[in-house]
Symmetry: C2
Subunit: 589 residues, 2 copies
């Protein structure tokens, strides 16, 4: 149907006849001579229809004049050197003089033009037009190349690509399951997997040694801008390994795919940081190291002041008083400072104290009066406040202060242009095994209930659960957790002990995870793994904030697909077949 | 944790110390000298623990003596030449003299032994033990290598691997949808895709040119031995192509992966056959060409007989009278012939007439009396019946006779050992566009409603719908339809006309397929594609009858997973969240 791709026509073809297929990106009639920019997935080439003595030429010019935006065309013509070279396109040295134009499919007037930046709802409704835009093609292709590069790396190293079920068992592991009624089993349901976690562990017990899968996962959670109902992860598992084996292997993989796909050379060795250090210095377990600002603990410097909020938390066992130096922040207006206060409040701050040190050395601070002059001076010096700087202060529980000061650090960094143009990966390790859930009055797993603790001794773990450290690890890149994994529990007694600590009784554990406990009883090898968020990594590589730019058919934040109209009502007969009915609104469980 | 794989220890390592991880395949204590066959995914190596003067040797021998089936072990030892070579295993020239044995995880007594052929239910319940068997590892690896080879071929040719949604719109296309209640939209449902058909067409409209996906598909249909609720297909689509472009490309692909994965050289050019020819000669649209027997139409030879069943159908517009010559079939007993009759009855036969021609030339046939001697002789001659042969006859509607005579042909071929050890691929083309559904009194699509008809003219299609031929094609291998595809409709007016012929009104078409019709309105290119059944191809390559042998975690014919226990009841609170309740049994729609 075609001899060449539009975007690949070049000077070597001058004088040659070519047949091209594509869409009319632009069509102009300049007084009898018509120009069509013909576009396919490789790019654009200029087609000219001009009067000549050739047979049928009049028909060609007439056809060209009738071409409209996004008409689907098949054009035959002769390549020639272009008079006015266009340096912005790859084919800019040449043009194609049309000898035949066939309209394969005429386009109706467009709901939005490919060149304009339409709203996301209309873009998603007419996704096929949106995806035609070269920018979208480029971003989607980045994702495709990422996945290819990952597979190439994995296949070359003997990782086995194994599919795990999508229709599986409901085993609440944290997030909400999507349910699928079972037609053959009235009152029973399949669940879509939140991840292939248990299956990949079972595969290690089954002797597959090294596994991977580009796996679709499902979480019925509130959709934020960067979340989708279904998402894709590179899921990996290794038998007979320690954490360092996994980390070294996948660090090499990530380094290679960044080099291959976007030509970026990441650190030869990723920095490593414990969870404790990350929270202390950056107020986050996924620190963005492109911003050099760090939090500073000042409890010791403020505990003798008269400022009650500071003194209370500075002496509280679970308290934290932290400062963030903002270079040049003395220029902030009162309004700006209030806005930062409001921003921090969204992350749990009750208030945001500050010290401004003017360019002329004058101090402006609502908390100065609570300090002895020498103590105040010592505080300013310890923070390293220079003329023209400002420091924000937060006080409260360790977790809350870390959260809002960490968020503030990111915001200040972005607002002041302190984010380096760089790629800053790191490993975060030594996560707490458990978090205490005040509401439910029980421990919850920080990673998941299958993560091995650092200690091998069950009595030790039980005695020191509150401070127990896990063998989990996250790979962080520019403030995004792009991968997370752990060494898993491979002994049934340890797995039972962890279930018990999480308040999962023996009976419940057997009902929900009996098959895992069984599997561990038949010679399960030590194993561990990791999962990488493909959507996020692709978005980072493509240079977009939104993962929706690297997903062909994403859903909106209201969990809908504007193109197909999913979800939608279905006939009652279809519900009857699967033994469910729509529940009246008032009928709470 | 290990220095080498068990299955890869070889003579080059003699004298070297190695550390191996694996499972105890067999362990024997022969009077103080212990032998352990240590197994990993690469194979088995023999480990010996024998008394010596070395430090700690007594502990090693003691540990070895305590090893049981499937214990998970880490063993260090020195490689030496084996006294009695074992030719059946790759490592049979060597053995490892243990210097340290660590039990990483003791196995409890096994529910079934890896070496025995346990029932499928127990194998699926303890799938991790079942999958450890080298035979299962081999079959699973065949599948993995098939998918790798396909991807390599596709990636090298610029096909773009794009993921399409799993949570999508319910659009009944034939099979029953799986439904997923939408939490944010009470009374609305997502459906799991029966195939990415519409998405891949949309991707062509979106300018992706060539697409593929190893796609999970879902059909809530009766499970037969070779069906699963979820299955995997290689889904492909091409823009700007004719059927021959698609066929030539994928024929080359299939040829290459067979060569690469199992070293089989398929025909340099696959035979091609129309649907009409396949039904006529083989009574099937997926003929198994390994069996040389063919059906023969004998209406002209029997229409003047006195046998009413023959004469009725021989002169019926939609009738068929066909014969199948069975070489050596004269040896069949009356009981055997009756059994074949019963078999044919399962496929719709009302009766099965026959002619037996004994080795001595005597005829035995219940229908002989209805023929003039000359006519009978002519019939016997036309069928090519030789001494010692038998011929079966079927009469009825064209479709029913083709079905049961086609099934009979396969059964006779298998029973008599007439199935060649060979790979016999072919293309079947020129399918009917529509089938008339007597029950619903309307046309149904033989492929699917998006398949293009061979004619471009809508009036022509409408006038001749009953005999219209589509641009669909199937790839058949050894009696299995391994791939099916078509050129799609790319014009909105033709798509609407086909919907209309299928009894889908304009309103219903708009509600269900509006987004497709929309997409066709904005310059959709001509396009077509195909989908291959990965599970089936993998099973064929692995030499197994059951696709469950090449699926890590398959479901049973009752749609259950004996390992995880899916599907299962869920708490009512979970149903309330997604706005459904269990429907009482009596509450029909």
């Amino acid at each position: 149907m075609r001899s060449h791709f539009c975007g690949l026509v070049d000077e070597s073809m001058i004088g040659q006849s070519v047949t091209l297929c594509g869409w009319a990106d632009v069509a102009r009639d300049l007084g009898g001579v018509c120009f069509i920019d013909l576009r396919d997935h490789e790019g654009i080439v200029q087609v000219v229809a001009e009067p000549s003595d050739a047979d049928g030429n009049a028909a060609v010019v007439k056809a060209a004049a009738a071409v409209g935006y996004e008409d689907c065309l098949r054009i035959t013509g002769v390549v020639r050197k272009r008079h006015s070279v266009n340096d912005r396109i790859r084919t800019g040295q040449v043009e194609v003089v049309a000898t035949a134009i066939e309209v394969l499919n005429k386009a109706e007037p467009l709901p939005f033009h490919a060149h304009e930046n339409a709203g996301e709802d209309i873009r998603l409704k007419y996704r096929y037009l949106d995806l035609r835009r070269p920018e979208m093609q480029r971003m989607m292709r980045t994702r495709i190349r990422l996945v290819q590069a990952l597979r190439r790396w994995l296949d070359a190293r003997g990782f086995q690509d194994i599919e795990t079920p999508i229709l599986t068992k409901a085993t609440p592991e944290g997030a909400r399951d999507f349910l699928v009624p079972a037609r053959l089993h009235p009152g029973e349901y399949y669940a879509l997997p939140q991840s292939p976690q248990l299956f990949k562990q079972i595969l290690m017990v089954a002797g597959f040694d090294r596994y991977y899968q580009i796996a679709r996962c499902f979480r019925d959670e509130a959709l934020r801008a960067d979340r989708q109902l279904e998402f894709t992860q590179l899921d990996m598992e290794f038998a007979w390994v320690s954490e360092r084996d996994v980390q070294d292997a996948v660090e090499g993989m990530i380094r290679e795919v960044f080099r291959e796909v976007i030509g970026v050379e990441l650190d030869a060795e990723f920095p490593r940081m414990t969870y404790e250090e990350a929270m202390r210095r950056f107020g986050s377990d996924k620190p963005d190291l492109r911003i050099e600002l760090e939090l500073q603990d000042v409890a010791g410097l403020v505990k003798d002041s008269q400022f009650k909020v500071f003194t209370d938390w500075a002496t509280h066992a679970d308290g934290r008083v932290a400062a963030l130096r903002v270079p040049g922040g003395a220029a902030f207006s009162r309004k700006q400072i209030d806005e930062y206060g409001a921003y921090a409040a969204k992350y749990g701050a009750k208030g945001l104290a500050y010290i401004k040190l003017g360019e002329d050395g004058t101090v402006n601070s609502p908390i100065q009066k609570f300090f002895e002059p020498a103590a105040f001076e010592a505080l300013v010096a310890a923070i390293g406040l220079r003329k023209g700087d400002l420091a924000f202060f937060g006080a409260g529980t360790y977790k809350v202060v870390s959260d809002f000061m960490g968020a503030l650090r990111l915001k200040v960094g972005k607002d002041l242009g302190l984010v380096q143009h760089a790629w800053k990966p790191l490993w975060v390790t030594d996560f707490p095994m458990f978090e205490w859930d005040d509401e439910e009055q029980r421990y919850v797993a920080l990673h998941h209930p299958f993560t091995a603790p650092a200690v091998d001794d069950i009595a030790d773990l039980k005695a020191n659960a509150r401070i127990a450290v896990s063998r989990g690890y996250d790979m962080v890149l520019n403030g995004n957790e792009i991968g997370g994994g752990s060494i898993r529990i491979h002994r049934p007694d340890m797995q039972s002990a962890v279930f018990e600590l999480l308040g999962i009784g023996a009976e419940e554990a057997e009902a929900k995870f009996g098959f895992l406990l069984d599997a561990l009883r038949y010679g399960a090898p030590p194993h561990g793994g990791i999962a990488f968020g493909i959507d996020r990594i692709a978005a980072l590589m493509a240079g977009t904030e939104s993962i929706r730019d690297v997903i062909a058919f994403p859903k909106t934040t209201t969990a809908q697909c504007p193109m197909t109209g999913a979800p939608s009502p279905v006939p009652d007969a279809q519900l009857a077949e699967v033994h469910v009915s729509v529940r009246p609104k008032a009928d709470k469980a």
